[in-house]
Subunit: 435 residues, 2 copies
Amino acid sequence: MIQPKVLKGFRDSLPSQEIIKKQVIATLEKVFSSHGFVPIDTPVLEYTEVLLGKGGGETDKQIFHFEDNGGRDVALRFDLTVPFARFMATHLHKLPLPFKRFHIAKVWRGENPQKGRFREFYQCDFDIVGIDSASADVEILLMMYNALTALKLERFTIHIAHRGLLNAFLEHINCFDNSVEILRIVDKIRKIGSKAVSVQLEQLTHSKEAAAAILNFITIVDGETAEETLKRLSLLAGGEKEYTERMQSILEMLTSLGIRDRFTLDPSITRGLDYYTGVVYETFLNDLVDIGSVCSGGRYNDLASLYTKAELPGVGSSIGLDRLLAALEELNSPLVQDATASDVVILNQDEALLPHYFKVAEALRKENVRCDVYLSQRKIGAQFKYAEQNDIPYALLFTEEDIALKQCTLRNLATRTDVSGLTIAQVVEQIQGNN
Amino acid sequence: MIQPKVLKGFRDSLPSQEIIKKQVIATLEKVFSSHGFVPIDTPVLEYTEVLLGKGGGETDKQIFHFEDNGGRDVALRFDLTVPFARFMATHLHKLPLPFKRFHIAKVWRGENPQKGRFREFYQCDFDIVGIDSASADVEILLMMYNALTALKLERFTIHIAHRGLLNAFLEHINCFDNSVEILRIVDKIRKIGSKAVSVQLEQLTHSKEAAAAILNFITIVDGETAEETLKRLSLLAGGEKEYTERMQSILEMLTSLGIRDRFTLDPSITRGLDYYTGVVYETFLNDLVDIGSVCSGGRYNDLASLYTKAELPGVGSSIGLDRLLAALEELNSPLVQDATASDVVILNQDEALLPHYFKVAEALRKENVRCDVYLSQRKIGAQFKYAEQNDIPYALLFTEEDIALKQCTLRNLATRTDVSGLTIAQVVEQIQGNN
C-alpha cells in the first residue's frame, strides 16, 4: 500500500473550497469579459532561459526546473507576467493593439511554505498593452472597482500614486542614484512603520535631510484633498508637469465615473519592483487591512524587451486570488455562505421509483435548479446526513399519493419544515424565491 | 535578446481559441453542477511513487518527473484518475458517499507529439464513487447525454457494453486466461477492422473456433433490438444473469428518460484497460466518426486500492476536451461562430469624450452587454480593424447631436448599416435581439 501523501507546500482543494473558488473566478471572468478583455493561456512548462532570462538571479532558487527527457532545461512558470511578455513577442504580428487580456492560472515557486504561502498558487492578471494613456490607466482602475464590487466586497480602498512623480522628486533632491533601494524601503512602510523606514532611509542616504524629505513626500497629510496633495507633490518634485497632469486626468475620470470615493492618493505606494514607471496602486479591504493588498499593479513602459525590439508600454493589475478567498471566508461573504453542492436533493424512499426521481430531476434542471438524486434506498437518516455534508438546503420527498397526483413534498432542511402537494413549477418557485 | 520560443508539444492558446475553450468548460461545469456533482482540484505535482505506484511500468517513460530542491522524486500528473484515487484515500473520512465529482484540468505526457497529440492537454473527468448500482451507471450516461446536448452536438451515439458479460463469455469458452490481450485486440476493431482482429485473435488463442466465437460475440447483428442482443449475448455467455440484469435495468431507465435512441448496445466496446469491470461506453459523433470517441468510460470495482483498504466501486467518464474542441470547429458549431471578444466597441472619435464613452460602457455592462472602449483617438480605419480582429459585431458612434440628445448610432459591422438616434435601452435591445 502506498501512503496517499501530498507534497509539502501543495494542497488538495476540497469541494467546499473549490465551489467558492470557481464562483469567484467565474465572477471575475464575467467582469473582465464585460470590458472586452480576452482570455489567453500559455504552457505551464517553458524553457528555463525564456522564463529567467540569461542571467537567472534571485528567482532561480525558487523555481521548479529540471532537464526533460529531450535534454532541455525546462521550468514551471513562477508568474504570469513573464509568460505574457513571451506570448506578446511570439504573436505580436497577429494580435490587435491595444491588446486587453486576462489570465487566471496556477504558478509554482519553491519557497519555504509558511502561513498562507504555498508552492502552488493562483495568479489573476489583467493588462492593457500597446498604449500609454490615462484612458488605459483608468480602464484598469475601473475594472478593479467593478471586479471587487461584483465580489460583493463593498468596503475597499484603492491607494494610487505615480512612480514617475516619485522618481522626479528623488532626482530633484539628488537621491535618484539610490532610487531602487529607496523604493524598496518605502514599500515596507505598512509592514515596519514610518520610524523604521526613516532609519533605513538615513542609513542608505547618509543624510538626515534627505531621509526627512522622502518621509515628508510619502506621508499623507490629513484633511488635504487629492488635488491639493498632487499640487504639493508636484512642487516638491521641482514643478513636475507630465506625471502631474496624467494623475490629474486619472482623478478627473474617476470622479466623472462616480467612483472617486474608493480611491485615495497615497504617495507611499511604490510597488518595490523597478519594472513600474507610471501610476501604481494597491487595494486594501477596509475591514481587513492587515492581510495586505488584494489587488495591485501599475504602468510599465516596456513589457517584452527581453524578447522583442517592439516597444510595448502597458498597464495592468493582479488579484491575489488565494488571499482574496481567505478574506471572503473571514468576512463571511454571501459568496461563501451560498456555496452549496446543489439546490435540492431527491431522497430515495423506493428504488423502484428511480426512473420517476430521474425524470423529476431533469424537469428541475431545465428550470436551472441544480438537483441531486440520492442513488440508493439507504436509511433516510443516512440520506439526510448526505444532504447536510453537501450543504444542500432542500430535500424532495414523494408519498404514494404524491406520485399519483404528480406532486411532491419540499423539505427545508435548515428549518425542518415541509410544504406538501407542490407541483414542479411550485418547487422551482419556492427554491428560487429563497435564493 | 532571447528567442520567445515554446517547447515542442506545447502551445499557447490565443484568445479566439481560449474564448471557445472557456465557454465549453463553463457549459460542461453547468451541466455537472446541475446534477449535484462537485468540483475538486489536486496539485499538479505529486510524489512520483504516488502517481506511478511502486513499479512504474510503461507510463514511466512518458511522465515528466524530476528531483526537486528538497531531493524528492516528483512528477507532473499524467491523468486525473490516479490523483482522484489518491484524493479519495486522503479525504475519505470527511467526504459524503456516494461522492460525485468532476475535475477539468491539464495533464502532461512526454509522448512524441503527432497531429492532434500534445504534451500538455486537458482532461475532463466525472465519476460517482462509493456505490455499485444501475442508478449510478444511468446518472453518468444521462449526464453525458446532457453535456453533449448542452454543447449543441445533437448528432451523437453512445455505444455501451458490459465488460462483465464479455468476461463471462470468455470464461465460458475457456479463453479467460488471455482476456487482457483479447480486450486490447477487440478494442482496436474500429481502427484495424474485423479481419485484422480475427487474425490477431487466432494468433493469440491458437484456435480458429475461439477467434470466430469471439468475433461473433462482438459483432452487431443488423435489425436486432438491444433486448434481443442482450438475450443472445447472455446465452453465449452460458446464461449469465447478474450483468444481463444490470444491463437490462440500464436500458429500461434510459427508455424511461426518453433518451434511449442515442444509445446503442455494442459488444465490441471493451475500453482496453483491465481497470473496468462493469458497463463500458464510448461516444461517437455521427458526422465525425473517424475522430474516435469524444467521451468514454465505465464502471470499475475498486478505485483506490493502491492507497487504502476501503473498497470504492465507481463509475465514471472522461471527455476528450481537445478532440471535442477540434470537432466543434470542424462542425462549424454555433458555439464557435458566436465566440467574440465583446458584443460592441465604442469608437473613439474625440478623446475629450472618453469620460462619456466610459459612462455609456458602464451602462451597457449593467445590462449584460460586453462593451469595449477604444482607448485612443486613432484613425477610424484602425479602429474598425481592431473591431474586426476581435470579431466584435457592433460599433457605437456619437455625433455631436447624439451627445446633446443622449443618444447614439449603432453600426452593424457585418452589414455596414447604421441605426441612428438610439437610446442605451434601444442599443441593448438591438444587440441582444440578434444574439
